[in-house]
């Protein structure tokens, strides 16, 4: 085989390989959506994060606006400090409400941001003051049983 044809085939092969990697990165992976965008960080203290994990989405009105970057335990206040990276296209008011929600019955957990009415916007490194912990199934069942028991007691009296 001629050397130039061989070079051509090898060039095509390498190009196809790099193309496949690009397809994987942009079409299959989430590189196109997040890493390149500018972002700022917000902090939030949660009493209980349930099963929240790093890289979990942060959503507002169901739209993904950022990701959870880091979760730490604060030994002074005994709660969890969650660091979120938010796309800088989106600004949130100072009295935004952050709660840990679950997508579907058995789905993954994410942080939902509900915007407040304040005119001052949150800046990078700010702490979200109003937070709502994750729902823990055992606590919920316990509360439900407790309510049921007190109801039936009330019926007897």
């Amino acid at each position: 085989m001629q050397r130039t044809t061989m070079d051509l085939w090898v060039g095509l092969f390498v190009a196809a390989g790099i193309g496949a990697l690009l397809v994987l990165a942009l079409k299959v992976g989430n590189m196109g959506t997040y890493s390149a965008a500018q972002s700022y960080t917000l902090l939030g203290n949660f009493e209980n994060i349930g099963g929240l994990k790093p890289r979990a989405p942060v959503k507002s009105a169901g739209v993904v606006v950022g990701r959870v970057v880091d979760i730490q335990f604060n030994p002074e206040t005994f709660d969890a400090v969650v660091t979120m990276s938010i796309d800088s296209r989106y600004q949130f008011p100072k009295d935004t409400f952050a709660s840990i929600l679950t997508s579907g019955l058995l789905g993954e957990q994410y942080i939902g941001l509900a915007a407040g009415g304040d005119e001052v916007m949150l800046k990078s490194g700010d702490k979200i003051m109003k937070t709502n912990s994750a729902m823990v199934l055992e606590e919920m069942i316990g509360r439900f049983l407790f309510n049921k028991a007190s109801e039936s007691n009330g019926d007897k009296n």
């Binding site: 095509l12 092969f13 196809a16 496949a20 990697l21 299959v28 992976g29 989405p57």
Partner: protein, 235 residues
């Protein structure tokens, strides 16, 4: 083995490597692409079959993409590469040794390691990640064909769930690291077995068999070790 590492000098004679990339990489393309397509289609069918019982058939894209990018792409591509190209490398070098071509080269003051062994080694190392990336990409396309075009899973949720679940750094880069390690392991074994083969017809055939067996086992073992380091039950 150390000699192989020192053989980086052969990168200067780049046309030799290009020639070998043609033989190991370009000619392996057909088997890689075809088997990738079928593996992806089977994954799509089986994944759909199981997931629809739980009413979450739109997660089939996630299933296909994650299993291909993390595990099946690197491992199956490396196994195919070992049996398609690794055996050829061993047989070629072993036969060169048996017909005393290597000894003749030494006689002409041409280092057979630099002239014969090193280009094959580097060509394998270079082509392996590309082959595995193509395997994964084609496999995901195969899964798309079966589930979206044939069965009729919603196209939007197929891609968006996949993009939500697959992380570039965590999944794709780790998969590429795996393929690089497999590429080094497979070609190192193939080249060593060829160079070490007894210079008889029996020796060459035995060396070829050993290449395929050893490198397949090495791939599966290394895959377990790498997976244990990369995905320690995180998310």
């Amino acid at each position: 083995m150390l000699m192989l590492l020192k053989s980086g000098i052969s990168l200067r004679r780049f046309h030799l490597i290009i020639r070998e990339i043609y033989f190991t990489g370009v000619l392996s393309l057909i088997i890689i692409v075809v088997s990738g397509l079928f593996v992806g289609m089977v994954l799509g069918l089986q994944g759909y079959e199981t997931l629809q019982k739980y009413g979450s058939e739109s997660a089939v894209g996630t299933l296909v993409a994650l299993s291909l990018v993390r595990e099946l792409g690197p491992v199956v591509a490396a196994l195919l590469f070992a049996s398609r190209a690794g055996s050829a490398i061993t047989a070629e070098i072993g036969l060169m040794k048996a017909t005393e071509q290597l000894a003749a080269m030494e006689m002409m003051a041409v280092d057979p390691i630099a002239r014969v062994v090193a280009p094959r080694f580097w060509a394998g190392v270079i082509s392996m990640p590309f082959l595995a990336a193509m395997f994964s990409a084609v496999g995901i396309f195969g899964g798309y064909l079966v589930t979206v075009v044939l069965i009729g899973v919603d196209e939007g949720s197929f891609w968006s769930q996949m993009q939500n679940a697959v992380d570039f750094r965590y999944d794709i880069v780790n998969g590429v690291i795996k393929t690089c390690v497999f590429g080094v392991a497979v070609t190192a074994i193939a080249v060593f077995e060829g160079y070490d083969a007894p210079p008889t017809a029996e020796g060459v055939s035995g060396a070829t068999t050993r290449t395929v067996v050893t490198s397949s086992l090495a791939i599966l073992g290394l895959d377990f070790v790498l997976t244990a380091f990369m995905f320690r039950g995180m998310s």
